[in-house]
Assembly symmetry: C2
Homo-oligomer: 290 residues x 2
Amino acid sequence: MDTLEPLETRELRYFTAVAEELHFGRAAERLGMAQPPLSRAIQRLERRLGVRLLERNRRGVSLTGAGEVLLHEGRAALDAITAATRRTRRAGGSGGPEGARDRLVLAVKAAASHELLQKLLAAHAAEPDAAEIEVLPCGMCEQPELLRDGRADVALMHAPFNSLAGFDSEELMTEGQIAVLPAGHPLAARETLSLADISDVPDLPPARWQQHGTYPPGPGPEIRDQTQLAQLIALGRTLAVFPESARAWLWSEHTAVPLSDAPPVVTHIAWPAHSRSLALAGLIRTATRL
Amino acid sequence: MDTLEPLETRELRYFTAVAEELHFGRAAERLGMAQPPLSRAIQRLERRLGVRLLERNRRGVSLTGAGEVLLHEGRAALDAITAATRRTRRAGGSGGPEGARDRLVLAVKAAASHELLQKLLAAHAAEPDAAEIEVLPCGMCEQPELLRDGRADVALMHAPFNSLAGFDSEELMTEGQIAVLPAGHPLAARETLSLADISDVPDLPPARWQQHGTYPPGPGPEIRDQTQLAQLIALGRTLAVFPESARAWLWSEHTAVPLSDAPPVVTHIAWPAHSRSLALAGLIRTATRL
DNA sequence: TACCTGTGATACCCGACGGGTATGACAGAG
DNA sequence: CTCTGTCATACCCGTCGGGTATCACAGGTA
């Protein structure tokens, strides 16, 4: 009876599609198949698990408690599977037979900790038998996702912006934060600022980053990347808060003022907790010795 | 070409079996199937990944580098899948429709932190809407495994014995360690001891715990559980080091002597980093307020 | 050398199941 | 009462997972 025969990957993919769309037709389309076999697959899954996952309410579909659990756990499992695929391909694919130099993919928030990254890469390259490092630039908060699904092996993360939950990590650097203001603005003349000073400046409303294709509400300008933000600051339309290392790429129309009470930004090197790769261990050793 | 069609769970199971046995016949037997289809499945897997996983050396099989990667990553993925199955079944299975009280499985090293556990369970039961807690006693080091494959949702772990890598955790308690000696032994008369004092006592060699069915080498007696250890100490054959809370279950033939230089034991409550369960959050809140 | 043994690979067959199309059942909007 | 949108059912087919029988080949062994 309770055979505990494991879920097949395909079933998990089907279920997450339906659970996300809450609509069999759209889910089937997304999966590139017809709707009836999808329905059957979900039914079979529910039968196998002995648990109702979806509530079919004649008009749309909703998740049961168990369905929500499976959606979360299933996503994690699917990530683990694609990570296994990617890392295996990477380990054996490129070079011919064994002996192919190990390759590590390092995910880095574009333009963040640039100097640190330079030093790290230089120091690592100087090591004998160092693995080849591929730098994967990424957006603000996607390092965890990249590590989880195997597109990256190791990442530079920035607390408190990235959560280190679920990863092993080592601290590399701590820095304060600065307010970046239009050079001509009255506040730019100050020696230091507090978060309160800049939280409610009427003529410099905080910019709104695009999140999942949509923008949060508010008065500030809408932006999609850091260059747009830099330009808007230069135009006197907004201000922003950055780690001190951002001074490296400021424009002449920008003025940086230290923030007295902003939480410090801690740069970590982080990797999946179960990693057992020698190449990774070498990189971490190099990083912690910087 | 590079369809990146995901690995099926079955293929992963087959591969890990072969990779562990390094022998197609035995692996097939373990999987309850015949050898030829297993061989074909592995070949197909290698073709799909475009990577050689096993080196067939006419006399036995060995893992390639990519094979080792897939073995590690695949185990993690399989754990994630069985965790998804277990937690989903648990979430929807027991009680009828929704509203069934949440249930959490708490893994605890048997007899460790007993008093803390008592207080935690009492405090939790006093909360309104508290989830039902099932206590799962386990051996010394298996809490991480239980959390990973979903047999448990949360665990009491003891640094530095358990590694917290890959989990979220909160510190609950710190305690010193004690040496537990036969009551009549000369060392038992001391006020305190150091690790050096007890590391090489000829008539009290450290006991050897069974690990994966086998015993490490050495002069000490072989044991399989804590009761056997307690008895051997009472008989004057060995000594042991425990956290202070072990005083609760000492026998009258035992004497506990504080260790001045043993690292403190820190009890944590730990859970999978991706957990999003309200019931779990409630338990953690209760625990940290103790 | 010749043979036996143990190993993984190949050849062939069958039944199960994943997937497609057509259609049904049913609730809600008009 | 019909029309529409939605998921379930019925039925068919091709693929593929699995089994049995057998092959190919390396190492011992007499």
